[in-house]
């Protein structure tokens, strides 16, 4: 470790040091006041690391013994992850306090999982990637069964743990095949090896196993079966977390591996990604129709959205990658908005998650209904909202890459998906009147909800100027 390495790793080191201070504080000062302090300090540390990353002048391809990359691409994803984690943590406080889940371990585990994700995206070899992945998922397994006296939460944790270890095993097997064929775990060496010496069948087999593992983490279709159960069983703040941040990390690391390490083999992995993409889009839109639980519905919705993201990856161009980045930003904002609403769905102080409870919500709160409607329209991809532009860029990239038929399939799937988003809107405005929800929402939450809805409207103008940074990030990945 040289001094420059420590500077490059500053955000990660900051997170580790803070988490250890937080653990010690939580174990020596056992009071609600200190837990509160840890909670707030965690949010500030996340924002602070994002700031460091934003200001960091390094544009270094590899360092720290050639295992670590801090380029525009990784910075883009890491800043996005840190911002969304701090927002989600801020949102979750009220719910945790109400449901007696307000423990200091919650923010600490989130710090660790964020650390894992940041390492994953910045890794330049498979060993660091795998360690980051394990750090990330191990803390998520615990967080998903955080409400341990509830058997559904325990089931969610156990299911996630068993299937997650299976996917880690698949991924490790793939890595071992790649290592066996190339003799290296370093992305650059593998890439140049493929370039100069062609490839062995072992590399392709290993690549397929790797994609399976990442598809599991991103909950793309043949590996999606855990998603609805885990989303339903976990406490709602954890579900909100699952729906947003780990997806970002999984997509980021998938892009990193596919383009950085196997950029020469686009034709080989393109077919796999296309199949996964088509299956995810259709399953996500069709299976969600029969759902009654809004958390399950959001699970299927996230599967569908991952299908669209994979379509952008399948195009295999820098335009495709930049469209994926834009789509992910919009997806995160929309999901945060919807989940801040779900967090506050309750009747007589008891959390409710059935869709039917939203009947005639317009009578309860006009403003919330309006904002949620905007977000749902945007999720469905209805123009002129920002969600439409996300899909537009993806379709554009796919058509430019000669995958017009894939874009047509995506269009059909998004029309089917529009049904279940619009059904919620229908229920809220024209449903049968029934036992209404309390409709109360803290001001901060109301601001987040209205803010994300407004962002969907503002995005029409210039997409917050996202096009340029996302294109630069994509360029730095592909070069």
């Amino acid at each position: 470790m040289k001094i420059i390495d420590i500077l490059i790793l500053a955000p990660e080191i900051l997170l580790i040091i803070f988490s250890i201070i937080a653990i010690l504080t939580a174990s020596f000062f056992k009071s609600n006041k200190s837990y509160n302090l840890i909670f707030q300090a965690t949010i500030i540390i996340f924002l602070f690391s994002a700031l460091i990353l934003y200001l960091t002048p390094f544009e270094i391809k590899t360092n720290v013994n050639g295992i670590f990359i801090r380029d525009t691409f990784s910075k883009f994803f890491q800043i996005l992850i840190l911002l969304s984690v701090s927002c989600l943590l801020f949102m979750s406080k009220q719910y945790l306090q109400k449901n007696k889940l307000f423990k200091p371990e919650y923010p600490i585990l989130l710090i660790f999982s964020t650390l894992g994700m940041m390492l994953m995206i910045s890794s330049n070899n498979f060993l660091l990637l795998y360690l980051g992945l394990e750090i990330q998922s191990l803390s998520l397994y615990v967080v998903s069964s955080f409400r341990r006296e509830n058997y559904k939460s325990t089931e969610a944790g156990l299911k996630y743990f068993i299937l997650g270890s299976l996917s880690s095993g698949l991924m490790l097997f793939g890595i071992s095949l790649i290592y066996g064929s190339t003799g290296s775990i370093n992305f650059e060496i593998i890439s140049s090896m493929i370039k100069h010496e062609g490839f062995f069948p072992g590399i392709i087999a290993g690549l397929v196993f790797l994609i399976c593992g990442f598809a599991f983490k991103a909950s793309a279709v043949p590996f999606h079966m855990w998603t609805p159960d885990v989303y339903e069983g976990s406490p709602t703040p954890v579900t909100a977390f699952f729906a947003t941040v780990p997806k970002l990390a999984a997509i980021g690391v998938l892009l990193r591996v596919l383009f950085d390490c196997f950029g020469q083999l686009v034709e080989s992995w393109q077919q796999v990604i296309i199949i996964i993409s088509v299956l995810s889009m259709f399953l996500g839109s069709i299976a969600a129709i029969g759902q009654n639980n809004i958390k399950r519905l959001m699970a299927y919705s996230s599967i569908g959205h991952i299908g669209f993201v994979l379509m952008g990856i399948a195009s295999g161009t820098d335009k495709g990658v930049s469209s994926v980045l834009i789509y992910m930003v919009l997806y995160i904002i929309m999901n945060i908005g919807v989940f801040v609403f779900i967090l506050n769905m309750e009747r007589n102080g008891v959390a409710v998650t059935t869709i039917n409870s939203l009947n005639m919500y317009n009578d309860v709160s006009k403003s919330q209904t309006l904002f949620l409607t905007i977000l749902l329209f945007s999720l469905a991809g209805i123009p002129p909202l920002a969600g439409f532009f996300g899909k537009f860029f993806i379709f554009n990239a796919a058509i430019n890459a000669g995958l017009s038929w894939l874009a047509v399939i995506g269009g059909i799937a998004s029309v089917i998906a529009a049904f279940y988003y619009l059904r919620i809107v229908y229920l809220m405005y024209f449903g049968l009147s029934s036992d209404p929800l309390s409709g109360k929402m803290p001001t901060a939450h109301w601001l987040i909800l209205s803010g994300s809805a407004l962002l969907m409207l503002i995005g029409i103008i210039n997409l917050y100027g996202l096009e340029k940074p996302s294109f630069l990030a994509a360029k730095s990945l592909i070069n």
Binding site: E105, L109, S139, V142, G183, E197, F200
Partner: protein
Amino acid sequence: MEPFALGFYFFSSITLLSGLMVVLSTNPVHSVLWLILTFFGASGLFIILGAEFLALILMIVYVGAVAVLFMFVVMMLNINFKEIKSRLTKYLPVGVLIGLVLFVELSLIFGDFIPELKFNSNDDLVINPNIENTKQLGLVLYTDFFIYFQLAGIVLLIAMIGAIVLTHQRRKDVKRQDVLAQIYKDPNNSIELKDIKPGQGL
């Protein structure tokens, strides 16, 4: 016969025989004891190969921790092992088949069947035969592999936090030791002397 070859045949026959006995012995506790002997044989083989660190780690981790844990589980669970053993003949053909496949695969590796792969060796790890294993590991573990080492430590820390979060319960009805309260206890306040007259109660 060379001493190394002699050692190899000695340890490998111990490993094979005790491995067989793990499966065949009727008493589960005996099975675990045979398993421990298998580990001993395997670590002897490692020593012959010049991997003394691996040999000792195998002894410490597998014999010291895993096998003892096995033993506890076997003794505590009331499983009818006779019944499981009675199905041995049913599974024997499948087992033999898997063994055969494994045998063929191994002979393919060690025979001249597969063409040589182009394998560029990892330059980071230069093995120097003059330095012992443990030192060699230490030389890379705390320098080149420092970050991996620290991150592996974090994985363990998360596992610990997770286990505590998911199982620890703070019970209200249990009396806990309060060390400070014990230290600051003043004998003048805690002991009360009573003068009791003979023949009378309190």
